[in-house]
């Protein structure tokens, strides 16, 4: 029973018979406290009408006898407690779901920014979602090819996986996210991208819109943009709306859906702001004690389900404050997700894009999503050999810094050449360059062949012959 939407997706299931409250006792930070309510449930969706007629929205954080504490999604600026009408909608927030989201650009609450009408759907879903029954999960097994060599070759993204990108301020993570969103495919099966941007600048938001224009025009993209000057608290809702839309597109619509969420550090900060306003006891770095469970409730919405088509793959981006990987947001994320792609300043300084630190990056599910029958027979061997050689090259580089380049053995010097070739011949690529898996693996071979055959023990002999590996040292 959907009523006519008043504004975007945020319409209640039914407004009739609901009482509007006219008294707000307290406004404090992002919170509004409303007295003398009855029948208000926890996590219920709330509509505020200001004196000017402006509409705002909120979620019930606590209800104690007749008092409800509501977090206001658009902030409390300009709200006069004497001139607010508050309507409790009677249920947690539900949004319309379905393919009508495809091709749309919306703000962080799901209201259109593209000048189009509000989004409708055949049905609605609660944005909180329900946990997937672990017994009904199907272990991820097929790749999402991103067309980015560093990702496809070494940290293959697998359908149903959650693989975060750990970055630092000033690195081109948004470019990488946009490129992955623009280029990714799932082996010819129906594919689409849900892109949720939280706390990005207007310039970045425009960049994302432009970069993904083609995908959007093809009806393969849903874009949610919460910019840095948009309400902070709204960011708590944005990833939930994105994931709810994605689940429907995947498990009902039969698509493989890639959900890109950036920047999760901004999301966590919004969570912290609400927690601080409520006077909750802080945990590490003043983030709330429930940060792990909260992040898990987002990331764990990825997966494949037995008996249902499609898949949801989650690619969260986060900037590590001061580059610190032990900061609670990357640390807890790392415990939940299946690996990580780490961007590094050192690689960025070499002028390499994307600046992926291959040795710190890992896709835990790669063994299941790449190799024979998935990508190419030699993929896993090539990746293992690349990483082993890269680790050796790093040791040699440290040694060279100590003893000088001239003191290195000829083989050692070949490793330094390899290192060079790896970054400039394989990792480095243009921001609009889509490389097929074949191209990526052939480049990998070219990079490996800078080493003598004796150093390529992880590769099968017949493949070395086929690629004409040099014997000598």
């Amino acid at each position: 029973m959907n009523s006519t939407p008043k504004e975007g997706v945020v319409n209640s299931t039914s407004d009739w018979g609901r009482v509007e409250y006219t008294s707000v006792r307290e406004l404090r930070g992002p919170l509004a406290v409303i007295d003398q309510v009855s029948g208000v449930g926890w996590d219920e969706f709330v509509q505020f009408t200001l004196g000017s007629g402006e509409q705002r929205h909120g979620l019930v954080l606590e209800v104690d006898r007749g008092t409800a504490v509501v977090q206001v999604l658009q902030d409390t600026a300009g709200m006069d407690p004497a001139r607010i009408r508050t309507l409790f909608t009677g249920s947690p927030l539900r949004i319309p779901v379905g393919p009508s989201w495809l091709g749309r650009v919306c703000n962080g609450r799901g209201e259109p920014l593209d000048g189009g009408p509000p989004v409708f759907g055949a049905g609605t879903s609660a944005v909180g979602g329900n946990p997937i029954n672990p017994v009904r999960r199907v272990p991820p097994a097929d790749p999402v090819l991103t067309g980015v060599s560093a990702v496809d070759a070494l940290t293959t993204l697998v359908r149903g996986q959650k693989l975060p990108v750990f970055s630092a301020a000033g690195l081109p993570h948004l470019e990488l996210a946009a490129q992955i969103a623009a280029q990714s495919t799932a082996g010819g099966e129906p594919f689409c991208v849900v892109f949720a941007a939280m706390g990005v600048t207007h310039a970045d938001a425009n960049f994302v819109r432009d970069a993904l224009e083609e995908r959007s025009a093809a009806g393969e993209l849903v874009l949610f943009l919460n910019t840095a000057d948009d309400p902070v608290i709204e960011r708590i809702l944005t990833p939930r709306i994105a994931l709810t839309v994605a689940e429907e597109l995947a498990f009902t619509g039969g698509r493989h859906v890639l959900v890109v969420m950036t920047d999760m550090t901004s999301y966590a900060e919004a969570l912290r702001e609400v927690s601080a306003a409520r006077g909750e006891i802080p945990a590490r770095r003043a983030y709330p004690g429930y940060l792990y469970s909260d992040l898990a409730s987002l990331y764990e919405r990825c997966g494949r389900i037995e008996g249902l088509p499609g898949s949801v793959t989650v690619l969260p981006l986060l900037t590590m404050p001061a580059g610190d990987i032990t900061h609670p947001v990357p640390d807890l994320t790392g415990y939940i997700t299946e690996g990580q792609i780490v961007l590094s300043r050192e690689v960025h300084a070499k002028g390499v894009y994307p600046p992926v630190d291959a040795l710190s990056s890992l896709s835990r599910l790669m063994r299941k999503g790449a190799g024979p029958g998935r990508t190419r027979d030699d993929h896993l061997d090539v990746a293992a050999q690349l990483l082993a050689a890269l680790a050796r090259a790093r040791q040699i580089r440290e040694l060279a810094d100590l003893v000088g380049h001239s003191a290195l053995s000829p083989t050692d010097r070949r490793y330094l050449d390899f290192d060079e070739a790896f970054y400039h011949g394989l990792v480095d690529q243009r921001r609009d360059e889509l490389r097929t898996l074949e191209q990526t693996l052939e480049r990998s071979w070219q990079v490996l062949l800078t080493l003598p055959r004796s150093q390529l023990a992880m590769l099968p002999g017949d493949l070395l012959d086929a690629h004409g590996a040099a014997e000598g040292g």
Binding site: S38, V40, W42, V63, R137, P139, I305
Partner: protein, 593 residues
């Protein structure tokens, strides 16, 4: 009609008839914390049903006619004024023949056969998927029995023998006993001194099941992992903590132990971990052949899956549920291993809820009772004589996930105080692809002495000496490695260079073990002993060569490959191949001069 799994049940083993139910009205809801005023009986840790859907919850505080409840489900839509029912019963697990091979949530509600999405309040029935079980009596009417005595057997229920026991707190004359034949799990199969006994019984999960006596046997739990069996062995009924940051191979190690250790029953508690990982565990256990019975490994496994996005407070309950299930099988005289991955997530659930109740925080926001809660959980382990006089054990292996790899954080620090063994997983080792990444410097086993004595008295008198030699060599090599970094290997005297070489040989030839290897994923005790002996002999011969004047560089350049690969070439119990490869290597070293 939505039903609750833990509906009021009068079949409690130890408790008299339950208190009359109380009724209440909800006053306050904030996430999983609910306050309600009530009339009638309410006791701490009693179960409640919340609102219309009857969401399960548990009483955690009572004050002036108001109960504080922690809810086990998402509470969206729950409002003040809604009803609350006090069930007069603590959270209990139904213990019966259907448990083996099953997959359950943190409250032991079956997940198999449920829908793709776990919707709050929609619980399914009891654990039994099979309608009937074959009961076979072992006593006759008129016999006099005590608590814990065997009344009958459940046949054809799986690879381990299941027993029906006289309930805790009951004894006397057998007034009725069912004939041999098929019975429903909840059918009465015996009457003892007026008490009806069923195949399935309930037990409150937070109460340890009583035993006659705790034992200190020194009998070892063989895990098939050399780094553990050789250096940091664990006794049956002991406790282990496995701390390791993300990416150190913790889950793989725990899964290896679950697959290969020689316990009768495995209880695997996935506590706040990844959904895809859980799916993987479920798949692998179902596909894996049980090396002991030839059947499926899953048939002697109970999986409790409460992934990180499932309700948080059910995560808190899940480790107690797991321990209770383990004790049920222990009381039948079985050796049970409980693997909890990860106890840090459980502790975080405690913290999250404590913060909502406004409890004063201790270290890093954890409640002041954290240390005692950890200690009490690990105390549910033990090798025991059961009430019925059988021997059984529960071994608890708990993973710890130190945030930011910080080993001084409260959960890791406290856990180390209460466990008998610690297997620390080292990031450096994992980074160097040395698996399992059990650090020899950062781990301990307080069971080693007792196990050494046990080995000495039974099968392997040289065990203690062998362990000491390996540990000494590793420690010496570590000490010298620091020195080598400063002054270079060439500056060391020959014997010390042999120690460095020896450390490498033992690490690569003995301690490394690939979980993916066909032959070496499991290493039997004879193979482990043979490998250690063979490689120590090689190290000894190298020392002799150095003493006899062979230049150290020359010895270091020898290809030790054949003996280092012995672990891969020999099958799980094949000591002979290891010995032969060792002998060949020694002979080759004899030719060096």
């Amino acid at each position: 009609m939505v039903t609750m799994t833990y509906a009021p049940d009068t079949r409690h083993e130890s408790r008299p008839a339950p208190e009359p139910e109380g009724m209440g009205r909800i006053l306050r809801v904030t996430g999983p914390l609910i306050e309600a005023e009530y009339t009638g009986g309410a006791a701490m840790y009693d179960l409640v049903e919340l609102g219309e859907p009857g969401l399960p919850g548990e009483v955690v505080a009572i004050r002036e006619g108001v109960v504080t409840v922690q809810a086990y489900e998402y509470t969206g839509g729950l409002a003040p004024g809604m009803p609350l029912r006090l069930l007069g019963e603590p959270l209990s697990a139904p213990l019966g023949p259907g448990l083996l091979g099953g997959i359950y949530d943190g409250l032991l509600r079956p997940l198999t056969g449920k829908g793709a999405w776990l919707v709050p309040g929609v619980a399914s029935g009891r654990a039994d998927e099979r309608p009937t079980w074959r009961f076979s009596p072992r006593v006759k009417v008129g016999a006099s029995v005590a608590e814990g005595d065997v009344l009958g057997e459940i046949r054809e229920a799986g690879p381990v023998p299941l027993l029906v026991l006289v309930p805790v707190g009951h004894a006397g004359r057998v007034e009725r006993i069912a004939e041999e034949g098929h019975q429903r799990a909840d059918a009465v199969v015996a009457t003892v001194a007026g008490t009806e006994v069923r195949m399935t019984t309930d037990w409150p999960v937070r109460t340890p099941r009583p035993v006659r006596e705790r034992l200190d046997t020194g009998a070892v739990l063989n895990t098939g992992q050399r780094a553990i069996d050789l250096l940091f062995p664990v006794a049956l009924g002991s406790t282990v903590a496995v701390p390791g940051g993300f990416g150190t191979g913790k889950t793989v190690l725990l899964q290896q132990i679950a697959k290969w250790c020689d316990a009768d029953v495995i209880v695997y508690v996935g506590c706040g971990e990844r959904g895809n990982e859980m799916a993987d565990v479920i798949d692998e256990f179902a596909a894996l052949k049980d090396p002991r019975t030839g059947g499926r490994l899953a048939d002697r496994t109970v999986i409790v899956a409460n992934t990180s996005n499932m309700p948080m407070m059910a995560r808190e309950a899940s480790i107690y549920t797991g321990a209770t299930v383990a004790e049920y099988f222990r009381d039948m005289g079985l050796d049970v291993v409980v693997i909890a991955d990860s106890t840090s997530r459980w502790a975080e659930a405690l913290r999250e809820f404590a913060s909502r109740t406004g409890a004063l925080p201790a270290e890093e926001g954890y409640p002041a009772g954290l240390a005692s809660a950890i200690a009490a959980f690990y105390e549910r382990a033990g090798a025991v004589t059961t009430l019925g006089g059988r021997r059984g054990s529960v071994t608890v292996i708990g993973a710890v996930s130190p945030p930011g790899g910080d080993m001084a954080e409260p959960v890791t620090a406290h856990t180390q105080r209460f466990v008998r063994c610690l297997w620390t997983l080292d990031r450096e080792l994992a980074y160097a692809r040395h698996y399992p990444a059990v650090s020899w410097a950062g781990s301990f086993s307080r069971d080693a002495e007792a196990i050494g004595k046990h080995h000495a008295a039974s099968d392997d008198p040289a065990w203690t000496a062998r362990r000491a030699r390996v540990a000494d060599l590793l420690a010496e090599a570590d000490r010298l490695a620091d020195l080598v970094d400063l002054v270079g290997i060439a500056a060391l005297p020959p014997q010390e260079r042999m120690s460095v070489l020896g450390g490498r040989i033992v690490r690569e030839g003995v301690l490394q073990q690939s979980a993916l290897s066909e032959r070496d994923a499991y290493s039997g005790s004879e193979k482990t002993a043979a490998l250690a002996e063979a490689l120590l002999a090689v190290v000894d011969r190298c020392r002799e060569l150095a003493d006899s004047g062979v230049p150290a560089t020359r010895i270091e350049e020898i290809d030790f490959g054949p003996v280092l690969r012995a672990r891969e070439e020999a099958g799980p119990h094949d000591a002979a191949t290891v010995q032969a490869l060792g002998a060949t290597m020694l002979a080759r070293l004899g030719e060096v001069s």
